[in-house]
């Protein structure tokens, strides 16, 4: 087994996702500490420009360019990854804890019988070996996990776990190819894409969430506007999604999405455990609620006790000005 670290690159509408740059930055840092190489693993079709873009972030870029790999599918991508992991024998393979990562990595880990830690939020050295930080029970407990059995290992990390550092490397591009067959037992009949313009909730640096205190679906327009100004995303609590004011795709919380943006603002959210478990790894939490006893204030760094509808217009203008000054 080599000491190298692989990062599986995810793309969205052709562009490399932010989380992949985060993982490449961490992989390079670790590789630098153990005198090994970081690898960006780029699988797809017509991806030459993307490969060039990755040169600054990784020691080596493995490119697998095949028509059959145009769209992500577990059947084809598992074969490509299996081939590469067997050939290069990396110490670790990093991926993102996204819909794609959660679909691909367990299948791949099972095929190679390699241990996996999913949905991690950190990694560190434990002597010569690595230990992985993983939250349990909605963040009530943190576990540090190691591997046994002396095999290569897989880890998927939550988006926004690491910061991006452009290292100005000049990574070497390696082209690879292998035999890839489609699994004929699955046949995609149609893809319906919605919300294409929206930033992925889990990847957003800024999230402004509305709860029942928003009073009705029409008032979420205010949050959408603020999210737009900040280049972030509007989210919602479970109560709001259950009341069908917002789509399930917007739900932050235990049965929705777990998020860790740089700045989270909760508006008219009481702070049920269900919700806070999905956002308490955010870097900075601001709560706005007219009830000073709302539980959300126990999780917040900063709070404003006031009527949400008098605060929101002022907040929108304030944030707009702050953005313009940058």
């Amino acid at each position: 087994m080599s000491k190298d670290i692989f990062v599986f690159i995810e793309r969205k509408d052709g562009a490399v996702r932010k989380v992949s740059f985060e993982l490449l930055s961490k992989a390079k840092e670790i590789a630098g500490n153990i005198s090994s190489d970081s690898y960006a693993i780029l699988v797809g079709h017509n991806i030459k420009e993307t490969a060039d873009e990755l040169k600054a972030y990784a020691d080596k870029i493995i490119v697998v360019d095949k028509e059959i790999l145009q769209e992500y599918r577990w059947d084809t991508y598992t074969q490509a990854m299996e081939y590469l992991v067997k050939k290069y024998n990396p110490k670790m393979v990093f991926g993102a804890s996204t819909a794609t990562g959660k679909d691909l990595f367990p299948r791949l880990a099972a095929r190679l019988e390699m241990p996996i830690v999913s949905d991690a939020i950190g990694i560190d050295f434990e002597g010569q070996e690595m230990k992985i930080k993983k939250p349990l029970y909605g963040g009530k407990v943190i576990s540090w996990v190691t591997f046994s059995g002396g095999k290569n290992t897989f880890v998927t990390f939550r988006p926004n776990t690491f910061s991006i550092e452009k290292k100005m490397l000049n990574g070497e591009i390696i082209e690879e190819t292998m035999d890839v067959q489609k699994d004929t037992r699955i046949n995609v009949l149609g893809i319906h894409k919605a919300n294409i313009k929206k930033i992925d909730l889990q990847e957003a640096d800024f999230i402004i969430c509305g709860g029942r205190g928003m009073k009705g679906p029409e008032n979420f327009q205010d949050l959408e506007e603020i999210a737009g100004i900040m280049g972030g995303r509007a989210g919602a609590s479970r109560a709001v999604v259950d009341a069908k004011w917002r789509d399930y795709d917007d739900q932050v919380g235990k049965s929705g999405k777990t998020v860790s943006p740089k700045l989270y603002i909760g508006c008219g959210i009481s702070g049920a455990l269900h919700h806070t478990m999905g956002m308490d790894t955010s870097k900075v939490i601001v709560a706005i609620n007219k009830d000073p006893n709302a539980p959300i204030f126990q999780y917040a760094d900063y709070g404003i006790v006031d009527d949400i509808f008098t605060i929101l217009p002022v907040l929108r203008e304030g944030l707009k000005k702050a953005k313009e000054e940058l």
């Binding site: 969205k12 059947d75 819909a99 959660k102 367990p106 299948r107 880990a109 099972a110 241990p115 996996i116 999913s118 949905d119 993983k134 939250p135 349990l136 029970y137 963040g139 407990v141 943190i142 576990s143 540090w144 591997f147 046994s148 059995g149 002396g150 095999k151 037992r185 699955i186 046949n187 995609v188 009949l189 149609g190 893809i191 319906h192 894409k193 919605a194 919300n195 294409i196 992925d200 399930y248 235990k254 049965s255 700045l263 455990l273 269900h274 900075v284 709560a287 126990q298 999780y299 760094d301 900063y302 404003i304 006031d306 008098t310 605060i311 907040l315 304030g318 944030l319 702050a322 953005k323």
Partner: protein
């Protein structure tokens, strides 16, 4: 047709959880439920059974003896059979090993397709579905929102993907992980609860499933908990004071800029 449903018993979100002094084990308050996402899988299987009388629904879990309670909930909802794959003789909690045992059970009992929740709410790993499918050599589809069984050989599913949905035709046998919103899980009727209390739930030894100790214990490559720790507490909230909304917002933005440095 036979539908197999995998469930997990998980600690209630409100349960108190303490780290024991050895730092490698947890003390969990005795409040457990069926995993939130698995309820949708159980409900979907029962709905299919109600439409076609020839269908048998079996539910199983790999876990400790207390997990029998989650199986009883599934029986109360309306499944036909329940099995506990007893983890007493095995140490640790590794997804590869759990998946191997569940796949071993599925292979022995047979099935047309398998349903399970898209992830467990205690570890949020979402490993088991795709892993079991791989060990069984069958296709899987993650996070489905809609399932139509065309005939015994084919299903049409709608699944959630990044920023949308896709429609997929899948040859059976297959495994599907279920997303929230697929259906409305029923609350068991009292007659169901009575039936569940009396139901005989067989305990199955994982080693009776054609798996050796080397495969699922001693020689298996797996993950181990080094230690547990409590998350860092946030300092108490700072309430931003001011006489008007303008003053409060102004003060907040200054803090976010200069102190928190997130603007």
């Amino acid at each position: 047709m036979k539908i197999l449903v995998f469930i997990k018993q998980v600690a209630d979100t409100e349960a108190r959880i303490l780290i024991k002094s050895d730092k490698t084990s947890l003390e969990i308050e005795n409040k457990y439920n069926m995993n939130f996402f698995d309820e949708f899988a159980v409900e979907e299987a029962i709905k299919i059974k109600e439409k076609s009388k020839e269908t048998l629904v079996a539910v199983c879990t790999y876990g400790p003896k207390r997990a029998i309670e989650a199986l009883r909930t599934a029986i109360a909802m309306g499944v036909d059979q329940a099995f506990l794959l007893d983890n007493n003789s095995l140490n640790g909690d590794d997804p590869l090993i759990t998946a191997k045992i569940l796949a071993g059970f599925a292979k022995q009992g047979g099935f047309d397709f398998i349903l399970c929740g898209r992830q467990a709410i205690d570890d949020e790993s979402s490993n088991i579905g795709a892993m079991v499918a791989e060990f069984l050599g069958i296709p899987h589809v993650s996070s489905i929102m809609k399932l139509d069984i065309i005939d015994e050989k084919k299903a049409l599913v709608e699944s959630e993907i990044e920023g949308g949905r896709e429609t997929i035709e899948v040859q059976l046998p297959a495994l599907f992980t279920v997303q929230k919103g697929m259906n409305e899980p029923r609350v068991p009727l009292i007659t169901g609860v009575m039936k569940a209390m009396k139901a005989n739930i067989p305990l199955i030894d994982p080693y009776s499933l054609g798996l050796t100790r080397e495969m699922i214990d001693t020689c298996a490559a797996k993950t181990n908990v080094l230690y547990y720790e409590t998350p860092q507490d946030r300092p108490p909230v700072r309430i931003i004071e001011g006489n008007t909304p303008e003053e409060k917002v102004k003060a907040l933005i200054t803090i976010l800029k200069e102190e928190a440095k997130v603007l």
